[in-house]
């Protein structure tokens, strides 16, 4: 029977495309599923400030199998290419079973993959993150725009203010101008001197020539040291750059009434705000203030994780912030977000808060957001009423309520809509 030759080269390409598509789908599903955990497990700052992007461990595209622990056991293996060993020789084990004569062959089926780690850029992460929150495209664009400008060197110009005069450049110009002009005189002087030497001239004529030479020499000396045309100024252009530093205050009520769910909402909200700010500022410092009846500045870890009980008094937190601004951040771009369940000890507290905000804090800061996470169906409290009142009269103060994780984005959007107007 003859051989059956089939030339497959012109068959349609992409036989594996279905399987590849399945892989991609799986990966993007896993990223989306991994995001809530990432938000939960990572520091707000780590996650969003890293220029390298976000590492997402993806469980589920490794292929787990039962396998042996390669370090265990009492094994005998055969290797080829013995040169010097005799029976009974002892050989030092390489570290971790790698290296020369290592115990792993390429066809060792026990080599299995760990969980894959996918690196995505911060922008991609934002896409996924906001996807989760159903971020409208329009607003994403807004997040991506850069608003501030910085002066940047851009060559030289022959116009400008004296303080931008570039001395070296101007002097160079003047030197070349002087050289160029003096060549004209030098040439004439030379010609005349030649004439003196070579031609037989009468006394009179010699005098005339000599006078001429003197005159030219004088003129040469009179070339001005610096003229308008020499002057060069450093030129600057406006270039869009993120404004460099800002500080973001996170104030959270940690009284007994704030549960895990409320904290999760708070964390997501802080993250969103932080990401929004990192779009515009290169350096953002974070200050975490937690309060129940007393306020305390803490690190992020403590801020989100430790739990305290007790009643709520808001004023100390605002006062603490006010002090910190005065001490460390005067002249900075200050953003503040306060999250609370709205429960306050007394009406006195809330009206005192309103007063501090109105008279002190709002004067110093760019923008303040107050988010209330009401518990159950409870009525809005005194704090809400006072703050709401204040927000109507002040441009840089906004309030909102979030009951569910899914509402975070809408509320967030409202805050910044207001600012954009």
């Amino acid at each position: 029977m003859g051989i059956n030759i089939i030339d497959k080269r012109n068959n349609p390409k992409g036989k594996s495309s279905k399987n590849r598509h399945k892989l991609l789908k799986r990966i993007s599903d896993k990223i989306k599923k991994a995001i809530p955990n990432i938000v939960k497990d990572n520091d707000v700052k780590d996650l969003t400030s890293s220029k390298k992007g976000v590492k997402i461990p993806i469980k589920g595209i490794g292929e787990p199998q039962f396998s042996y622990d390669q370090k265990s056991g009492n094994k005998k293996r055969v290797y080829p290419g013995n040169k010097e060993y005799g029976a009974g020789d002892r050989i030092r084990k390489p570290n971790d079973g790698e290296g020369k004569g290592g115990s792993k062959g390429s066809n060792d089926p026990s080599v299995s993959e760990d969980e894959f780690v996918i690196n995505i850029s911060r922008e991609e992460f934002l896409e996924y993150f906001f996807d989760d929150l159903e971020l409208p495209d329009m607003v994403k664009k807004h997040l991506n725009t850069i608003v501030n400008f910085k002066q940047k060197r851009a060559g030289f110009s022959n116009q400008g203010t004296p303080n931008r005069l570039n001395v070296v450049k101007s002097f160079k110009n003047s030197l070349s101008r002087k050289m160029a002009t003096s060549i004209f005189f030098d040439k004439k002087i030379k010609d005349l001197e030649k004439k003196l030497k070579n031609e037989a001239l009468s006394e009179e004529e010699v005098d005339v020539v000599k006078k001429e030479i003197d005159k030219l020499k004088k003129m040469k000396l009179s070339i001005s040291f610096m003229e308008e045309v020499d002057l060069q100024y450093n030129n600057f252009e406006k270039q869009p750059v993120p404004v460099t530093s800002a500080v973001m205050f996170c104030i959270m009520d940690v009284s007994g009434s704030m549960g895990e769910k409320e904290k999760d909402i708070a964390k997501r909200f802080f993250m969103l705000l932080y990401m929004f700010l990192t779009k515009q500022y290169e350096n953002i410092e974070l200050v975490f203030i937690r309060h129940h009846t007393a306020a305390k500045e803490v690190d992020e870890e403590e801020f989100f994780n430790s739990r305290e009980t007790g009643g709520t008094i808001v004023l100390p937190a605002l006062e603490l912030m006010n002090n910190i601004i005065d001490e460390r951040y005067s002249g900075w771009n200050v953003y503040t977000s306060q999250i609370s369940d709205g429960d306050v000890w007394s009406q006195d507290d809330s009206s005192a808060c309103k007063e501090v905000l109105e008279n002190e804090i709002l004067e110093k800061i760019q923008y303040m957001i107050y988010v209330e996470i009401p518990r159950g169906y409870s009525e809005s409290g005194d704090l809400w009423a006072d703050y709401k009142n204040l927000s109507n009269s002040r441009e840089n103060f906004a309030v909102g309520q979030i009951r569910e994780v899914s509402q975070i984005w809408d509320v967030f959007k409202d805050f910044f809509k207001k600012k954009a107007e």
């Binding site: 068959n11 595209i61 396998s67 094994k75 005998k76 290797y79 013995n82 004569g101 299995s112």
Partner: protein, 506 residues
Amino acid sequence: MSKKKKEDLKKMFSNSEWNSETIIEADKVVSKIAEDYLGLKTYPNQFEIVTSEQMLDAYSLVGLPVSYNHWKFGKDFVINKNNYKKGRMGLAYELVINSNPCISYNMEDNTTCLMLLVLAHAAYGHNHFFKNNYLFKQWTHADAIVDYMIFARDYINKCEEKHGYEAVENVLDACHAIMNYGVDKYKKPSKISPSEERDRLKKKIEDERILANDLWRTLPKNKEDKLKKKRYPSQPEENILYFIEKNSPKLKEWQKEIVRIVRKVSQYFYPQGQTKVINEGCATFSHYEIINKMYDEGYLSDGFMTEFLHNHSNVIFQPGFDSKYFSGINPYTLGFNIFVDLKRMSLNPTEEDKIWFPEIAGNKDWASTFRYIVDNFKDETFVLQYLSPKVIRDMRLFELSDKSTELKYTVTSIHDEYGYQSVRESLSQHYNRATYIPDIQVFDVDVYGDRTLTLNYTSIDEKNINEKDLEVVLYNISYLWGFPVRLVEGGKLEKEIKKPINTKGL
């Protein structure tokens, strides 16, 4: 054949450009030598010419022309493609699958010399092996595999439409995690044709409504019965996928069918995993003998042979253990060396050969000896019986003892009189399946309690199970089983390696 014709062919084969006529003419010569000189018996050949991308497609499906769709194959494709593009990996000249007709994929950019080499190697060497080796005869149905895979693909597509891709993927993922445990090592499966397969399926669906699983129907009649309850299964079951398919209390019929498909595929590849050395040895020895015979008979030029020998020595290159290229023993080299040495001792035996291989030394009929071995052995037994002292010396094989408790290896045997036997036994153990796939079997089901499935690990060489994936794999099994799954060691129900892992199941 006329002398003129031979000269024409010689010219044709010396041209590095080939066309289909070249291959047809080469096949005529090669097949004749394969049959008359080596006595090979083969399936008809389907010789496919493919591009590198098509070769990568074939790689990701392990050579199967069709398979069900799964991300795993996509991942293999992407990884191979990246490695190939970055020059980290070369592609094989050919890939051949065990089917009837025997399909081989051959790279379009092979030279004429390489095409003749792969023709002799795959289309005759491997082909004979697939058709005649006892493991393949017993375990795989070369006539049915392509049809079965079409059935599998269509079935899984239908399941995706009906139950959603995620539900299907979950079952497939879980099955793949224990694919190595979807194999019968001793029982012989009954042969079933694709049409019977469909009938069986229809009947199964028919039965679905009235199906009551015998295992769970057994309620204890009285307290005494419960006390002397027997273990179920009464004998440990090595085929975990089979056990789950037959006994899982929660799997629906379509899910069982998917389990069945995965274990069928696993069973199909089972012989290949155990015959790498002998199969490659068979194919390499075949191409070497056939091409040399063609040269002797005047079909090939000296230039052709130079190129051939260059390619051949690349194929059987064995870096030493201390080379940076070392990645284990090259199965092509080992298998080829053993067969070459068997031929040598058949024709020119030494005193040593007469002691070690009295039946082969000087028997002159090396071709029958070759065929007998090819047809009746797998790697483990092949090495154990036929690795000769001369091959051990030539490859300078030595045995190293590696105890986890000691800081140093000990050289226990080398290529000398005292070491031959030990090196040979040790090397044969490399190819024992339990050396690279832990022996884990179904041990017990808590029929009267919470239905926990207990698996038992039997350790060899005092090796432990890798903790890393253990939990995920058990989770996958419990996904299929529907109830907790745990792992014990050494046949003792109380010696737990891993506590019961539970999932809500399907």
